[in-house]
């Protein structure tokens, strides 16, 4: 009896997954956009399909003094100070400065993420005279004039976390590309639920640009590297905690045993999905993988309800930005370069003309999450 039920279920599942697979091939996933995708290679190398190299589109400082090998003073102006995330980037910068020995980094900025305050801070540091500015922009356009002013005074400018218009800075350290996030999400899920598992997605709305891009990349990557996985449904939950919880609960009830995994596409949807799985008593049976900040996910990692949280490592981000600035001041990183040496992170690749890719996203697990506080 039991065995026959199992076979029936398995057969049904196969049939379903086949049907869904066929549907997949024909239509895009709900919530994915129509833009072209570029799935990464299936193996750990994660090499991107060779894209047409974009020429360097950053700005250059005028008459920057030659500081090669000499000590430089650098100011870091994040979106705001006093929050865990930017405390982490700032820690990474201090780590890098200590390793390099010839960089002095100060972090200073507004206590609220206000663009005009941020501009004033950068302006004051230009007057005070620094060799380099690192920034995470509150607004990509509004920050451009003051950054251009810095360049015009021979100050090196490197962005991280949040970009400005390209011509207002020399380089931008990009924490994660869409296809990188897509690969990490799908790989983590495949590891937890197996190559033939079925999953559903909780996203903000089908038209939110970042989420739509990620889902499109996840689809492309899943088709290429995990073709047997079954996508059941994508649901919208705004960025609302309650709605995310309800939507996840509905999915759990609707699909029952078929549902093996849930993707959370926002920092709200992921903890809410984990909460829904916990409340439904499905921990260990339904995996939750998603984008989220460590602090929100700590409780669920502690109870083993969630095994992997995908994001980048802000400490590494600050660390890389500092190495990039040093390389620029040393004249080692010039327009047209293909990679830059970033200490313990190894060689980082140049993408999109004047951006430096931090590397594959960081997976937070039970073992490493306590090192982060944001």
């Amino acid at each position: 009896m039991k065995a026959s039920l199992l076979t029936t279920t398995t057969a049904a599942m196969f049939a379903l997954s086949f049907a869904a697979g066929a549907a997949n091939a024909a239509s895009k996933w709900d919530g994915a956009d129509d833009l072209p995708t570029s799935p990464l290679a299936c193996d750990a190398s994660g090499a991107a399909a060779p894209a047409a190299a974009k020429p360097y589109d950053g700005g250059q400082p005028t008459n920057a003094p030659d500081k090669s090998g000499k000590e430089i003073t650098v100011v870091d102006v994040p979106k705001l100070i006093g929050i865990g995330y930017f405390n982490a980037t700032s820690k990474g910068m201090q780590d890098a400065a200590k390793e390099l020995g010839n960089v002095k980094v100060t972090t200073d900025g507004p206590t609220e993420a206000k663009i005009d305050e941020q501009i004033k801070f950068i302006d004051n540091y230009i007057t005070r005279g620094v060799d380099g500015v690192m920034f995470a922009a509150n607004d990509p356009v509004a920050i451009a004039p003051v950054l251009k002013k810095a360049l015009s005074k021979g100050i090196h400018v490197v962005g991280y976390d949040a970009n400005s218009t390209p011509d207002a800075r020399e380089w931008f350290v990009n924490q994660a590309e869409f296809n990188g996030i897509g690969k990490s999400m799908v790989d983590s899920m495949a590891k937890e639920i197996g190559e033939d598992g079925s999953f559903a997605i909780v996203t903000s709305t089908f038209t939110t640009p970042n989420q739509a891009r990620w889902i499109a990349e996840m689809q492309a990557y899943a088709e290429k590297c995990h073709p047997k996985m079954t996508w059941l449904e994508t649901v919208e939950a705004q960025e609302d905690n309650n709605l995310s919880f309800n939507q996840a609960t509905t999915l759990i009830n609707k699909y029952g045993d078929k549902l093996k995994g849930l993707f959370g596409m926002t920092s709200v949807a992921t903890p809410a999905s984990a909460e829904a799985v916990t409340k439904a008593g499905q921990c260990g049976k339904i995996a939750v993988v998603g984008l989220a900040t460590p602090n929100a996910m700590k409780p669920y990692l502690k109870t083993d309800c969630v095994k992997s949280v995908v994001l980048w490592n802000p400490i590494d981000l600050g660390y890389a930005a500092t190495y990039v600035l040093r390389a620029v001041a040393d004249g080692k990183l010039k327009p047209g370069a293909a990679s830059v040496d970033a200490g313990k992170l190894g060689k980082l690749n140049v993408v999109n003309g004047s951006e430096i890719l931090l590397g594959p996203p960081f997976i937070y697990t039970k073992e490493n999450i306590d090192k982060f506080d944001f």
Binding site: D108, T127, R128
Partner: protein, 323 residues
């Protein structure tokens, strides 16, 4: 007997006792002190740049001085800046107005927003504090609703002249501020309108019985306050090249701090434009000087707070001595 003669000989001249004079002396001392600590502070380049950065607050501080002299307050100015910035960007980009018309339209919206404040305050007799707290939320909400938190960018090059350009080496918007300072000073000091402001602030009932059109005067000052906020929004958008709904958040506190530091009594009836200008310059240069000397952002706010408390203490002790 001899004691009386002594006090007479050492009596401090009256002008020296004025709050503005004292403040100007403190400002000079602070300038020299900070200048000695940092050689990049007292440069023409830096001072002109600070003039550029303080213009938006300064533009609003002028009518705010009027408002506070009448015994009122306008907390909605920051929200009006946000609303006007959004109206400028949206009327140009979404409604398709030509940019000059969009600027005029946004100034009109600012004046209208101030007019509505004034109308409710004078007609419904809602206390200004409550009315403008309400419109602070209302105008910011409108800015958010209209823009859907999207920003407007890509203005033509000529539009940036006001916010980023120079005339004979002086930032364009600073010239605008200087002209308006002179006009506001003359209006307050030399016109019946100016004297009516003091009369209303000193004793509103007495002013009414003296046949002053109290409501009309109040309506005008709140409208001016809204209009100046619109002007500040124009300067700000031109300076930072983009329109965002969160522009001007917290401006009301910076503006009121400058006015009150400049010796205008929060209870109304006294205050000068010159005091406000000194207060404005003092806060801006203190912030800048401290930043250049290596004091971090959070510590700077503490110093500004202490400066404010000290100035109020000095003002009240002067007041007591006069009484």
């Amino acid at each position: 007997m001899s004691l009386a003669i002594e006090t007479k000989t050492f009596r401090v001249p009256r002008w020296l006792k004025r709050h503005e004079t004292l403040l100007a002396i403190i400002l000079l001392i602070a300038l020299v002190g900070l200048g000695l600590l940092n050689d990049r502070f007292l440069t023409l380049d830096n001072l002109l740049n600070q003039g550029r950065l303080m213009t938006e607050i300064g533009l609003i501080a002028l009518p705010m001085t009027f408002v506070i002299i009448t015994g009122g307050i306008d907390l909605s100015v920051g929200a009006i800046v946000g609303l006007c910035a959004i109206m400028l960007g949206y009327s140009w980009k979404t409604f398709g107005f030509p940019l000059p018309l969009a600027i005029v339209f946004s100034l009109f919206v600012g004046a209208l927003a101030g007019f509505i404040n004034g109308l409710v305050i004078t007609r419904v007799k809602v206390p200004p504090l409550i009315m403008t707290i309400a419109t602070l939320a209302l105008y910011r909400g409108l800015a958010e609703g209209i823009s859907q938190a999207h920003s407007v960018r890509g203005y033509p090059e000529w539009f940036y002249f006001l916010g980023q350009g120079d005339v004979f080496g002086v930032p364009t918007q600073l010239l605008l501020l200087l002209v308006l300072i002179v006009i506001a000073g003359i209006v307050l000091d030399r016109t019946t309108f100016g004297r009516a402001l003091y009369a209303i602030g000193a004793n509103e009932t007495a002013a009414r019985f003296s046949a002053l059109s109290v409501d009309r005067v109040k309506l005008i000052v709140y409208t001016l306050s809204g209009f100046a906020s619109g002007l500040a929004a124009w300067v700000l958008v031109s300076r930072v090249t983009t329109t965002r709904m969160d522009m001007g958040i917290g401006y009301e506190l910076d503006v009121i701090a400058a006015v009150v530091l400049g010796g205008t009594s929060i209870f109304g009836g006294s205050g000068t434009i010159w005091g406000t200008v000194i207060g404005l310059v003092m806060i801006q240069l203190l912030k800048n000087g401290l930043a250049l000397t290596g004091v971090k952002g959070d510590a700077t706010i503490v110093v500004i707070g202490i400066a404010l408390i000290l100035s109020v203490l000095i003002a009240s002790s002067l007041q007591r001595r006069r009484d």
